[in-house]
Symmetry: C2
Subunit: 503 residues, 2 copies
């Protein structure tokens, strides 16, 4: 039999000492770890407590950046517009050039002139200056747009609105706010300057929920991480004479609910000049389609993927470079999904490809319907004959646009998107069938001749857009008119105090 440990220790006391010292060493290291955790917590508390007093309507993102340099740094990275996309990178993707059918579908509406892929929030104001859609107003009472167009572009909007009646703001000319609205979508749109909690700053969302009798104050943090986005990433319209920005949600958030809402108002954004259809322009029903996303249904918020948590030094912060999750998969998708990056990207593209294929098919049918309707009008069709046709075109274009205009629809909600597109295909096809009957009754039995709209130039020529002239006018305006307003804004902002250091 071996000697028991107790006897060994009794004989050789150094064994006892070795055990004692070893234990002490382990306890010491544990202490160090505990201290490090406490220290990081303290640091986090200090960093999350505003060291500056930020004014209630502070619109300048740089001013907020003084208090929150880490978050502001990621926000500023939005100026980088390179991103992962199957269409290749970056910057200005001219959607009319990529798909000239859009020129026909938006004929008579500003999007047929100029329609680029959206860039990051940081470009919200300058892109609105640049686009041909806003025209070239000569003074504060001129131009095609009203200030309702500003609503989602800047934290200046709530600041200006706090001093005037919303209805007066919305109906004022877009140009009248060029010296007031200069800061792109940013900090104030989502954060309370007192304590940095998320808040709803924009009026229309709050009003929409008020009408539904729903209280948003009980929203959880993760719900807020979606709701702040839903302040703008939704379907909306400009209601009545005052162009009051309104979310058409009173009957529900589904495509059919919103259509019913508009139909009850006999609402139309514009009358299509080819087919004479009263069209509803879908804005970007992102939040509405996101309801049908399995991600949403499993409790994932917009920010979880588009603004994931990252570690910056010792700090866990929210990445304020709002962008496609494909650009940042390690921090977004791959936090939950254990597949390879290649597999996940393939899954995304698979969904997008299928929706896009049928969306393009729907566009082809819709384009033909508009042109055939024009032909029918020109050859003696009466309003009575055309009424059922126009109703079908309106329905079909609404379905198409609901999916086409929504950011990320084909990934967020591919099944609902395809359901809507399939429904659109049937409506647009039915319109063409009706049209063939109308034309037959008018003695036209052959198929209607189609114009060549294979390029943006040809399509714009067909609908009577002189792009060169519009572009020259815009460039001239940016050189001669815009700087005056921007100069006024600069002077005004220079007189505004900067945030005060409070600790």
């Amino acid at each position: 039999m071996k000697t028991p440990l107790s006897e060994k220790i009794a004989k050789r006391p150094w064994i006892g000492w070795a055990l004692f010292i070893g234990t002490m060493a382990i306890v010491f290291v544990l202490g160090l770890l505990a201290a490090s955790i406490v220290q990081r917590r303290t640091e986090a508390n200090i960093l999350n407590t505003p060291r500056y007093e930020i004014a209630e309507f502070e619109p300048r993102n740089e001013a907020w950046g003084m208090a929150f340099p880490r978050e502001y740094q990621t926000y500023a990275q939005m100026s980088d517009t390179n991103f992962r996309s199957k269409y290749g990178g970056s910057a200005f993707r001219d959607l009319l050039e990529e798909d000239p059918r859009l020129v026909i579908l938006f004929a008579g509406y500003a999007f047929s002139k100029d329609f680029n892929q959206a860039r990051g929030h940081i470009y919200a104001v300058s892109d609105v200056h640049n686009t041909l859609r806003t025209g070239t107003p000569v003074d504060e009472n001129d131009g095609p747009m009203t200030s309702s167009c500003w609503t989602c572009k800047s934290p200046d909007v709530a600041r200006v609105m706090s001093k005037m009646d919303p209805a007066d703001f919305y109906k004022s000319k877009w140009s009248s706010m060029l010296s007031e609205i200069v800061n792109p979508i940013g900090c104030a749109n989502c954060h309370n300057p007192k304590d940095m909690t998320l808040r709803l700053f924009q009026l229309p969302l709050k009003e929409a929920y008020q009408r539904k009798g729903k209280d948003l104050t009980a929203s959880s943090l993760n719900e807020m991480r979606t709701l702040v986005c839903a302040q703008c990433h939704v379907e909306y319209y400009f209601k009545g004479e005052s162009k009051y920005v309104t979310f058409p949600w009173d009957k529900g958030l589904n495509m059919e609910d919103i259509e019913k809402y508009y139909d009850e108002y006999d609402f139309a954004d514009w009358i299509h000049p080819l087919s004479k259809t009263p069209i509803i322009k879908a804005q970007h029903p992102d939040f509405e389609l996101f309801q049908h996303s399995i991600h949403y249904q499993r409790g994932v918020s917009c920010a979880d993927c588009h603004m994931p948590y990252v570690t910056e030094g010792s700090q866990k912060i929210t990445d304020h470079k709002v962008q496609s999750p494909l650009n940042n998969m390690e921090a977004s998708c791959m936090v939950c999904h254990k597949q390879s990056k290649e597999e996940l990207i393939r899954n995304v593209y698979d969904r997008q490809d299928r929706v896009t294929q049928q969306k393009i098919l729907l566009e082809d049918i819709l384009v033909k319907a508009h042109i055939e309707a024009k032909y029918a009008w020109e050859h003696g069709a009466t309003s009575e004959m055309m009424q059922p046709v126009l109703k079908l075109i309106r329905q079909a274009q609404w379905r198409w646009d609901f999916v086409a205009a929504s950011h990320g629809a084909s990934f967020h909600a591919p099944i609902e998107s395809l359901r809507i597109v399939a429904d659109g295909i049937s409506k647009a096809s039915e319109a063409r069938l009706e049209l063939s009957r109308v034309l037959a009754k008018l003695g036209h039995l052959d198929s209607v001749p189609m114009p060549d709209i294979s390029t943006k130039e040809k399509a714009q020529a067909y609908v009577g857009i002189d792009l060169k002239k519009l572009r020259a006018e815009k460039e001239e305006w940016k050189k001669t008119k815009l700087p005056k307003w921007l100069e006024m804004a600069k002077e005004r902002e220079n007189a505004m105090p900067l945030p005060k250091r409070i600790m």
Copy 2:
């Protein structure tokens, strides 16, 4: 200073003994646990080693059941046809009654007479006796069907085929095998009787992969848990004079690939009597659409959900009651998904509802196209005028049927299903547009009168089916003719030896 442990032990030896005995106790319990594991392994080995020698082509499931009573017991539970479905439970769901459009779409084809929802494998043979589709053959050389129809119904098929040329089998009359094929789909279809490993027993799948030069012997167990199902749950057709059962996969497994394959052969299952369209009947392209399922793409096999592992006493066995996973969610879905049963069911129904909505819409358009084509033929349309119409109807019906005929398509692959249905809607609508032009040229400007097909009875009357007569004939046949063949089968099987006990 306190006394060190070593000195304490030296003074009081009972402390050392306590430590020693405590350790022994723990080691003893560990030993018990290890023994229990070894014992269960041994038990598993014994139970998984066949104690009976089963003949190579043993078709009788009860005979296999002697060796594997646990698995056989779950197999036998398939006679219970109650299952969870939004359509309510069980047994014979008459699909023609639920959706009389099917009578029009399948006019001229046996499915327009009788089309019930598939029941479990255990009913495979008796349902084939029962259905009006197989007619009432008076002898071995009579009846509408060939033995190719038997291919997937029974393990007797491979047994019979082992004794004759496959081509001779396929082209023989269905009635000629009534005394040979009596055991429903079961053990031998998937298992090697020597060692119970999974094997591919059916000829057509092996031949399809051989043509593609693909070796299936390297398949993993989990791949086999899908491939054994793919022996039958696929698109197939009866090729040439001998009605040789063939999988049309040479160009790929996608809907368009298979269509291209058929088009190259100018293949048609039948000529539709209303529109005179050469129709391809989709069988059940389950495996093909499953390729587009996220479950398949993440490595989930058919058996994982439809035949999940369960614990039966001390044994982990595969549940051989092949059924909808919704019927057994704890053992299927909920092994991976941590949501509530209610939420998961809602997710399934959400997908199914969306696909169904658009599928029904496509049916409506297709039905009209068939009837309008009939009207056009009756009013002087020429083959030349109708050719583009018929091509479109063929394409549209193929797209519809590819989704409609596939079991579980709308859950397995809702996105691909909706893509296909949307494509079908555009083709069927285009057919109607072409038809309206054809009719206009023939002087018919108004819409074509539609028959009342609001019930199965009305629809069957319209296509000239006398259901009462067919049913009476079938009942008479089951009473007077069928028993003779079944008696012959019984005598033959009684002479077959039962499996021999070998341990």
